[in-house]
């Protein structure tokens, strides 16, 4: 009998309140100690194959069908790659600002969705509270004003997407070399009317996340936490830039691994490892190898990598955030929520600045240059750095596509978080509701989009299965 057969295995499947379908398995040894915990992504990946042969100008519209949650991120990352293909090295001010507005609208609505609908039940009611009330309906019943804010903030961001992309989901606004429409003054004025209210609500959401984290710091600091590298785009001057920049990676102490890397050359710095038990790959920094080169992306990573934020209120919030870890990188998994809300405020500050910029009414929308065969587009999506890489043949057809999405970058960190929580919270051979949700809470901090990460569709309820050391099923729990 193999060693593994003597161990016990717990399966959590599917994991809930995240986007997509996955399962968690926890393998125990004969002493009921956690030997190994894994987040399995079992959806099948297909987009990179079936877009082969399609004309390149279709891709920004086609590839966003990966996901209904953050299609704008895929739309813009693909459009940025196609900018490279058509030789549009510098967009017109109108085009770049319309795209930025679309992107900040997306960031605003996505972060609001995650905080209010997916994560707030855990923070407001506690990780192990009654699951009957620990959900968005429970939030709406006990904190109605907050629930309404969540819905209305999401709506505001979605309306911005509609105004810039043509539709709230799966629009067509960004095209190779620019955009297909500007923002009329009438459209602008609708958004300006509510901007102060959105700023206020974003400040309120940030306060909830910050106060909760600071108040529960002793409990949260070790929860699913570990030291890690961090990666994101940053602007040339080191500022946070969610739309464009160069790659920066830092280690757990804040020392730079690489900085200001042109992402067209990402393959010189990033590689992906395949493991047999998951359809999701494991990216790593080449120079550190797969063992030590894994990293985190997303709000926490972005707060750690940037030198400053170029909007005043978010910058003030960033300073408070970094002060908690003495200006060293914050490696607390649950600090993702606080970081996400700083970005929420940053996004609405950016939206306000853009709405007051007359370039949005510009009429010069598209540029072109010397045609290239290969292009890479990167963007900081709500969940983290998103890579789109395409090669186009002389007949204008896609020959090769490689997408590395945010959740894929966070694959190893999510596995580590699950392992950490399982080690700390599991006792005996029984699956408790609390354990089940503690594992989910750790995964949820990353706001993963598992369907997107494997480029498939699905939803995510949760089951745990517990196996004894002979491989017999001891206990099983499912919730949908």
């Amino acid at each position: 009998m193999s060693t593994e057969k003597k161990l016990k295995r717990i399966i959590i499947e599917p994991v809930t309140r995240v986007e997509g379908h996955g399962k968690v398995s926890i393998l125990l040894d004969e002493k009921n100690k956690v030997r190994q915990a894994r987040l399995h992504i079992v959806e099948f990946r297909g987009f990179e194959r079936f877009i082969q042969g399609r004309p390149y100008w279709e891709v920004p519209v086609l590839v966003q069908r990966l996901c209904g949650i953050c299609p704008v991120s895929h739309h813009l990352a693909a459009a940025k790659a196609m900018d490279v293909i058509v030789g549009a090295d510098k967009l017109t001010p109108a085009a770049e600002k319309i795209r930025r507005l679309m992107h900040y609208g997306q960031m605003f609505q996505s972060h609001a969705l995650h905080f209010f609908h997916l994560c707030s039940p855990d923070l407001l009611f506690g990780f192990e509270s009654d699951p009957a009330i620990r959900n968005v309906i429970g939030v709406a019943a006990k904190f109605p004003a907050l629930a309404v804010q969540g819905v209305m903030m999401r709506k505001y961001g979605q309306e911005i997407i509609k105004a810039t992309a043509g539709k709230k989901i799966h629009g067509t606004g960004a095209i190779p070399g620019g955009v297909n429409k500007n923002l009329s003054t009438a459209e602008r004025d609708v958004f300006l009317k509510d901007i102060e209210k959105m700023m206020d609500w974003a400040r309120g959401a940030l306060k909830i996340a910050k106060d909760y984290t600071v108040e529960h710091l002793q409990t949260l600091a070790p929860f699913g936490s570990f030291d890690s590298n961090h990666l994101s785009l940053v602007r040339k001057d080191g500022a946070m830039d969610l739309y464009h920049g160069n790659l920066r990676a830092i280690d757990a102490q804040g020392d730079k691994i690489f900085d200001q890397v042109d992402y067209q050359k990402y393959l010189d710095y990033i590689a992906e490892e395949v493991r047999s038990w998951s359809y999701m790959k494991f990216p790593f920094i080449k120079q550190l190898g797969p063992e030590n080169g894994w990293y985190r992306v997303g709000p926490l990573a972005r707060l750690n990598t940037c030198d400053f934020i170029d909007t005043p209120e978010a910058e003030k919030a960033r300073k408070e955030f970094t002060a908690v870890t003495n200006n060293k990188p914050n490696n607390i998994t649950m600090a993702y929520h606080w970081a996400r809300m700083i970005e929420l405020l940053h996004s609405i500050e950016k939206i306000k600045d853009l709405l007051n910029d007359k370039d949005l009414q510009g009429k010069d929308l598209v540029v072109k240059g010397k045609r290239r065969e290969e292009g890479v587009g990167l963007i900081e999506a709500p969940r983290g750095t998103l890579f789109h890489h395409y090669r186009v043949n002389k007949n204008d057809q896609i020959e090769m596509a490689n997408l590395i999405v945010s959740t894929t970058h966070n694959n190893e960190p999510m596995n580590r978080a699950v392992q950490k929580v399982a080690e700390d919270k599991l006792s005996g051979q029984k699956i408790t509701e609390g354990l089940l949700n503690n594992v989910e809470v750790a995964i949820r901090a990353y706001d993963p989009c598992l369907s997107c990460a494997t480029h498939a569709m699905g939803k995510m309820p949760l089951t745990i299965e517990l196996y004894d050391h002979n491989g017999n099923l001891l206990d099983r729990k499912t919730k949908s």
Binding site: P55, W57, P60, T172, P176, V366
Partner: protein, 236 residues
């Protein structure tokens, strides 16, 4: 030329000229007969059968049938609408029509027809045929996934452009739009400025590098249903 022929469409008296087809007379009268292969100024082909009407109780293609004094035409009846709905359904499942990323979406006559007939999804099973793309030409391409074999490009190239760049090849389910060349579209004398390039009702024959330049909301059928331009016109 005087309108010296009279006949009725769904009980409405219509005046027509000698030599006119039913669809031409109906268009002038502001009566819309749905169609996909027929296009003004091209020789009618009668292939899609969407314009089928009952003429004195017998089915006829309105785009090829000449008017005759006193005929009784049934157009907008439940039976004819059901017949057309079935035809449109079949056209969808016989090809690979993915409107969500098709540049023609919003300007597509097949899509607009489905909206006009209230078809959210085909009732027949998708056939998912294996079709190819010919992108060998520097400025235009054929996506056979979307071709409904209407023959407009064949007619326009032959009768207007004088090039015979396109032709049909094969029969039955193997029928496809082909090019008049040894190998590919890139080997023909077709050009992006040809009339043939502006007549495709779907996204099968397209100019390159213009994807999604027209935003959602500004496309032909975004706000008005197909046929409304005929129904709103006054008698000429």
């Amino acid at each position: 030329m005087s309108d010296n022929i009279t006949f009725t469409i769904d009980g409405v008296e219509v005046k027509a000229r000698h030599g006119e087809t039913i669809i031409e007379a109906a268009d002038r009268a502001g009566i819309y007969i749905p169609r996909l292969c027929y296009m003004k100024d091209l020789i009618p082909h009668g292939s899609c059968r969407v314009c089928t009407v009952m003429v004195n109780g017998r089915p006829q293609a309105a785009c090829t049938q000449p008017v005759v004094q006193g005929i009784v035409v049934e157009n907008n009846t439940p039976a004819m609408q059901k017949h057309r709905r079935n035809l449109i359904d079949m056209l969808f499942v016989e090809g690979n029509h993915f409107c969500m990323f098709c540049e023609k979406s919003g300007n597509c006559e097949l899509q607009a027809m489905a909206y006009r007939f209230g078809i959210p999804a085909p009732k027949y099973p998708y056939m998912f045929p294996d079709k190819d793309i010919d992108a060998s030409h520097p400025d235009i391409f054929i996506d056979r996934n979307r071709c409904i074999l209407c023959g407009r490009c064949v007619s326009a190239s032959r009768d207007v452009d004088g090039k015979t760049a396109f032709e049909f090849a094969g029969r039955g389910p193997h029928k496809k739009i082909a090019v008049n060349a040894e190998a590919n579209l890139g080997d023909t004398n077709a050009e992006a400025s040809d009339k043939a390039m502006s007549v495709c009702p779907v996204g099968a024959l397209m100019k390159k590098r213009i994807g999604f330049a027209v935003p959602i909301g500004s496309r032909k059928y975004d706000t008005k249903p197909i046929g409304s331009e005929i129904e709103s016109s006054t008698r000429k």
